[in-house]
C-alpha cells in the first residue's frame, strides 16, 4: 500500500515536471505580453525596455532554468500583468474554486448515489424512469445554460438566491448546482448500474438467504457498489475543478478559472504556469485520495493476500479427514 502510494507520488511529480515544461515552452511560442503592457505609442526601444523588465530578453533556456530553480524553493514567480507574486493570486483563486468544486461534488455525490441506488432498488418503476430521465438531462444540458435557467428562475423571478458572487452563504447554491449537474447525473447512472449488477450477484443472493434486515442488505450492496463509484467520483471531482471555468465566469465566482482566462489573454506566463501547477497538484492529490479511499474501502487493496506473511499468521490447514471413499 505504502509503496503503491509512493509510486503514485513519484509519477505525479514526473507528470508535474512534464506539464510545467510543456506549458512553459508552449506559452512562449505565440508572442508575449510586451505589446499589451507597453503604451500604444511606444518606440521599439521602449518595447525592448519592457521586454527586459519582463525578463523576456534572456535566452529561453535560461528563463526555464531560473523558473525551475524558483519552483524548487516554492516560488511560482511574479505575475507580469497583476504585478504581484503568482501565489498571491493562485492560492485565493484555488481556495474559491475548491470551495465551489467541493460543494458541487458533495452535492453530486450524495444526491447521485442516493438517486442511483433508489433507481436500482426500484428498477423498472416510475422512480427508476424518473431518475434515468433526470440523469440523461443532467448529462446533456450544458452547465452554463442550466446556470442561466437557474438564475432566471431562482434569482430573478423568485429572488431566493443571489445571481452571482460569493458574498453570502447562499451564493454558492446556484453555481454549485449548475456545476454539479453533470457529475450528479454520471454518478447516479453509474451507481444505478453498479447496484443493479450487484443485486443480481451471488453475493447479494447469499446475503438475502441470511434473512437479514433490508437495511443491512442495502448497506452491503452500497458498500460493494462503492468502488467503481469512488473511481468515477475522483474523475468527476477533477472534472469539476476544470469545469468551474464556465461557471465561474457566469457566476462571477472569484476562482482560478476566471484567473486562467485573464492570464491567457494577458499572456501572463508565470501566472499561466502557476495555475497549471496548482491544478496539477490538485489532480495528483485527488488521485492520491482516491487511492487511499480504495484502501479504506477494499480490504483486498489494503491487505493483499500475498503480503499476509508480514503478520506471521499460522497457516491454516484442513483437518485430515479419514481416508476417502473412492467412487
Amino acid at each position: 500500500m505504502l509503496r503503491y502510494t509512493g509510486t503514485r507520488f513519484l509519477q505525479g511529480l514526473i507528470a508535474l515536471f512534464f506539464i510545467v515544461t510543456v506549458v512553459f515552452f508552449l506559452a512562449r511560442m505565440s508572442g508575449d505580453a510586451t505589446a499589451l503592457l507597453a503604451p500604444p505609442d511606444a518606440t521599439p526601444e521602449q518595447l525592448d525596455a519592457v521586454r527586459v523588465e519582463l525578463g523576456l530578453d534572456r535566452p529561453i533556456l535560461v528563463q526555464y532554468w531560473d523558473y525551475l530553480q524558483g519552483l524548487v524553493t516554492g516560488d511560482l514567480g511574479r505575475s507580469t500583468s497583476y504585478r504581484v507574486p503568482v501565489s498571491d493570486l493562485v492560492v485565493p483563486g484555488m481556495q474559491a474554486t475548491a470551495k465551489l468544486a467541493l460543494v458541487a461534488f458533495l452535492f453530486a455525490l450524495v444526491l447521485g448515489v442516493a438517486a442511483g441506488a433508489l433507481a436500482a432498488f426500484r428498477s423498472n418503476t416510475p422512480t427508476d424512469y424518473g431518475v434515468r430521465l433526470m440523469a440523461v438531462l443532467g448529462q446533456s444540458i450544458p452547465s452554463f445554460w442550466l446556470g442561466m435557467i437557474l438564475v432566471a428562475v431562482f434569482s430573478v423571478s423568485l429572488g431566493w438566491f443571489p445571481a452571482f458572487g460569493d458574498a453570502t452563504a447562499t451564493s454558492i447554491v446556484l453555481p454549485a448546482i449548475s456545476l454539479a449537474a453533470f457529475a450528479l447525473a454520471s454518478i447516479a447512472r453509474l451507481t444505478r448500474s453498479t447496484v443493479l449488477e450487484m443485486l443480481s450477484k451471488d453475493q447479494t443472493l447469499f446475503e438475502r438467504s441470511k434473512g437479514v434486515a433490508p437495511a443491512t442488505l442495502v448497506v452491503h450492496v452500497l458498500r460493494n457498489s462503492s468502488l467503481p463509484v469512488v473511481t468515477l467520483a475522483g474523475i468527476q471531482l477533477g472534472a469539476l475543478f476544470s469545469g468551474t471555468i464556465v461557471i465561474e465566469n457566469l457566476f462571477a465566482w472569484p476562482g482560478v478559472g476566471q484567473l486562467a482566462i485573464q492570464a491567457i489573454n494577458a499572456k501572463d506566463f508565470a501566472l499561466i504556469q502557476g495555475i497549471v501547477i496548482v491544478n496539477t497538484l490538485v489532480f495528483i492529490a485527488l488521485l492520491f485520495i482516491v487511492d487511499v479511499l480504495y484502501g479504506l474501502l477494499d480490504p483486498r487493496v489494503r491487505r493483499p493476500a500475498a503480503s499476509r506473511g508480514k503478520k506471521k499468521r499460522p497457516t491454516t490447514t484442513v483437518q485430515p479427514i479419514d481416508v476417502m471413499e473412492t467412487v
Binding site: 423498472n124 450477484k201 451471488d202 453475493q203 443472493l205 447469499f206 446475503e207 438475502r208 438467504s209 441470511k210 434473512g211 437479514v212 434486515a213 443491512t216 452491503h220 458498500r223 460493494n224 474501502l297 477494499d298 480490504p299 483486498r300 491487505r303 493476500a305 499476509r308 499468521r313 499460522p314 491454516t316 490447514t317 484442513v318 483437518q319 479427514i321 479419514d322 476417502m324 471413499e325 467412487v327
Partner: protein, 317 residues
C-alpha cells in the same frame, strides 16, 4: 422438513414467460439428504431459489404449488415472515464461496449477522467453536480476516458456518463443491454428511453430478426441462435408472467433473425455457423417443424398487 408440492415457478423477461419449474414435488425429511440432479437449465436451482423465495415479481413468480418449510408455506409469507424463515429455518450453502462471501467484511461480521440473539453475547466464542468444528484451525486468530485471505475450501467452510450459525432445520446446498478442487470437494462432502447426521438436517443437495450426490444423499430427484423425470432412493436409481436421461447422466458423470462442463455423452442441448417442446422435454435429444414422446407427457410410473419416473419408453434394466 422441506416439502415441495407441484411447484410452478416462472421467470419474466421482456414480456416473455419462462417456465422454469413445472409441477415439481420434492420431499426432504429431517435427517435425510435429497439430491436434486440435472444439467444447467434443468430448473434445479430454480427450485432451491423458490424454497428461499428469491424469485419475486417483477423477475419471476412462484405461480402455483406448496413450498413448505417446517410447515410454513413460503408462498404465503409476508416479506418479514420470509426473513424469519430464512433466519431461523434455512441454511444456504452457495456454489462458489468466492463470489458469495462479501469481500469487504470480515468473516466475523458476516457470521455474526446471522447469529441468533442468544449467541450474539459471546459471538466470538460461538463463531470460533463453529469454525473449528468445521475444520478451520486457529479460527480465533482469523475472525478478523477477510474472505480473500482464505483458500477456496476454507471459504466454503466459512460459508457453511454462516449457513449453520442460524441453527437451521433445512440445509440447501447449491453445488457446494463445483468451484473447489477434487480433494477439497470430498472433504466438504464428508463434512456436510457429518453435519446432516449430527444436526439432523433436512438437506437438499443440488448437483449436476449424480455420483457426487451418492456420497451424501439417500434420495435423488432428477430434473430435466423444469420437470422431475425420475426420483427415488439413490442406490436404486443408480443401479437401475428407468429414464433415458438418468441413464445418460450416469454415463456422462465421473467424480470430480469440472463445473458447467457439457455432458459429453448426451447429444444436443437442453431446451430453452422459453420454448419447451410440447411433449417430453428430453424427447429431442432422446435415442428412445417415439412420436408419442413428442406429443405429451405420461403420468408418473412407480417401480417395484421404489423409484418413480416419467417416460413412455423407459430404459430396460
Amino acid at each position: 422438513m422441506l416439502d415441495v408440492k407441484n411447484l410452478h415457478t416462472e421467470y419474466y423477461q421482456g414480456g416473455r414467460v419462462a417456465h422454469a419449474a413445472r409441477g415439481v414435488s420434492i420431499h426432504v425429511p429431517q435427517g435425510q439428504a435429497v439430491a436434486l440432479v440435472g444439467e444447467s437449465g434443468s430448473g434445479k436451482s430454480t427450485v432451491a431459489q423458490s424454497v428461499m423465495r428469491m424469485i419475486r415479481p417483477p423477475v419471476g413468480n412462484l405461480r402455483e404449488g406448496i413450498v413448505s418449510v417446517n410447515g410454513i408455506d413460503v408462498r404465503l409469507c409476508t416479506d418479514r415472515q420470509m426473513r424469519q424463515v430464512l433466519r431461523n429455518e434455512i441454511g444456504f450453502i452457495p456454489q462458489d464461496p468466492t463470489t458469495a462471501l462479501d469481500p469487504l467484511y470480515t468473516i466475523r461480521s458476516q457470521i455474526k449477522e446471522v447469529l441468533p440473539e442468544e449467541d450474539k453475547r459471546n459471538a466470538d466464542q460461538v463463531i470460533t467453536e463453529l469454525l473449528e468444528s468445521l475444520g478451520i484451525v486457529n479460527a480465533a486468530d482469523r475472525l478478523g480476516d477477510y474472505p480473500h485471505e482464505f483458500s477456496g475450501g476454507m471459504k466454503q467452510r466459512v460459508a457453511i458456518a454462516i449457513a449453520l450459525a442460524k441453527r437451521p432445520s433445512v440445509l440447501i446446498a447449491d453445488e457446494p463443491t463445483t468451484a473447489l478442487d477434487v480433494t477439497t470437494q470430498v472433504g466438504i462432502l464428508r463434512l456436510l454428511d457429518r453435519l446432516r447426521r449430527e444436526r439432523n438436517l433436512a438437506t437438499l443437495f443440488i448437483t449436476h453430478n449424480i455420483r457426487v450426490a451418492r456420497l451424501l444423499c439417500q434420495h435423488v430427484v432428477v430434473m430435466y426441462g423444469g420437470i422431475v423425470v425420475e426420483s427415488g432412493p439413490i442406490e436404486q436409481v443408480m443401479a437401475a435408472p428407468s429414464h433415458p436421461y438418468t441413464r445418460a447422466l450416469l454415463d456422462a458423470s465421473v467424480l470430480g467433473d469440472r463445473p458447467r462442463q457439457k455432458l459429453r455423452a448426451i447429444p444436443g442441448n437442453p431446451p430453452s425455457l422459453f420454448a419447451m417442446p410440447q411433449g417430453c422435454p428430453f424427447s429431442p435429444r432422446c435415442a428412445n423417443a417415439t412420436d408419442q414422446c413428442h406429443e405429451g407427457l405420461p403420468s408418473e410410473v412407480a417401480t417395484e424398487q421404489g423409484t418413480r419416473y416419467t417416460c413412455w419408453n423407459p430404459v430396460a434394466s
